[in-house]
């Protein structure tokens, strides 16, 4: 009997270890793997995805080439980080004034299941008018995130709901679609606005 118990515990233990290894794989190498730090977004010209903007227009990375671009990932059911970032972006755009009109500013949802075109239209309507909201099929959102080297993950919450972990950096590209720099979440405005000005005036040949 003793021995039998030991065997049973042993089997349970192996199962638990296998499960943990499975979880470990998912986090380390699988779809839950964090993007290695320092992995830079592709140039917009090397990206490939098809989404719909909040006015129903078909859009993709090529839509952004020709003007400097600011891109941010988030979701409209986000109570804290996303409205804060969109408010920050709105403030930067106000500071830029007329220059803001020369830019593409795009908010791409990582939660297309809830963020329909209509939901995006209502949401972006509360922020600076230059901000466009993009959504689309889950696989196209995934391809967009892949191009920007952004990551996101659905996380269940109490009460059967869910929230999304996601890259909160703002990406800045020049008019040719080359990455100029990124603005980290909560970067003070006195650093953010000059970075945007750089994207607006970047010598394209010098872009890295």
């Amino acid at each position: 009997m003793q021995r039998r118990h030991v065997v049973q515990y042993g089997a349970a233990g192996v199962g638990a270890v296998a499960l943990m290894l499975g979880v470990g794989w998912w986090r380390a190498d699988g779809p839950g793997a964090p993007k290695p730090a320092g992995q830079r977004p592709l140039p917009l010209s090397a990206m490939d995805f098809r989404l719909t903007d909040h006015e129903g227009n078909e859009v993709g990375p090529e839509t952004l080439i020709g003007r400097p671009t600011m891109v941010f990932f988030g979701f409209t059911y986000c109570p804290d980080v996303c409205p804060t970032t969109l408010s920050d972006i709105s403030g930067w755009l106000e500071d830029l004034g007329d220059e803001a009109a020369q830019m593409n500013v795009v908010f791409i949802t990582v939660d297309p299941e809830r963020d329909t075109v209509e939901a995006m239209a209502e949401y972006v309507g509360y922020f600076h008018p230059a901000i466009r909201g993009w959504t689309g099929p889950a696989n196209q959102v995934a391809r967009a995130a892949e191009g920007f080297r952004a990551s996101y993950e659905r996380v269940p919450t109490k009460g059967g709901d869910y929230t999304m972990n996601h890259t909160a950096s703002v990406f800045l590209f020049d008019a040719k679609g080359e990455l100029v720099t990124m603005i980290d979440y909560h970067e003070p405005r006195e650093f953010a606005v000059p970075k945007i000005r750089r994207a607006l005036t970047e010598d394209v040949e010098g872009a890295t």
Binding site: P34, D80, V81, P83, K158, D161, T163, D184
Partner: protein
């Protein structure tokens, strides 16, 4: 009958008045400042409330929970952004505030997350929020609802 129930009610009244007298170890010295929240779009999205919780007393206090008629599941959360720039949000658990110290609930960090909204959060209105502490005390605040794009209590 009436008289009897009146007498029975007395100890309860005494008990209740005892609870609201300053018999707590700290929470009566908690002051909440600059509370604000953003208007909601519908009731399916969670809301967030920000404020500064100041302990003006001589004892440490521990914030253990929240209550509001506005939401069925109010909870203190913390947003964090890791070295890869990925933001996530999780329940913050209990928060202890040392004497003379304060804790800031502010965008991108700690926030009172209002899940399962029972009503719309309408710009210009206010709602009551109660903070509960480990000593049994409660602090009630009336939270103003600002615009969806608000950045702080002054904006």
């Amino acid at each position: 009958m009436t008289k009897l129930s009146y007498i029975n009610g007395l100890p309860l009244v005494l008990l209740l008045s005892g609870m609201s007298s300053p018999a707590f170890a700290g929470s009566e010295d908690v002051v909440v400042e600059n509370a604000w929240s953003r208007a909601s779009i519908g009731v399916n999205r969670p809301g967030a409330v920000y404020m500064t919780v100041r302990n003006t007393g001589e004892y440490a206090v521990t914030l253990t929970g929240l209550a509001t008629p506005l939401a069925m599941m109010p909870e203190i959360h913390e947003s964090k952004t890791n070295s890869n720039g990925v933001s996530s949000m999780a329940p913050a658990g209990e928060i202890t505030i040392e004497p003379g110290q304060s804790v800031a609930l502010e965008p991108g960090g700690l926030h009172a997350m209002l899940m399962m909204l029972q009503n719309l959060m309408i710009e210009g209105e206010t709602f009551p929020l109660t903070l509960t502490f480990s000593d049994g005390g409660e602090v009630a605040v009336e939270v103003p609802i600002l615009g969806i794009a608000a950045r702080g209590p002054e904006s």
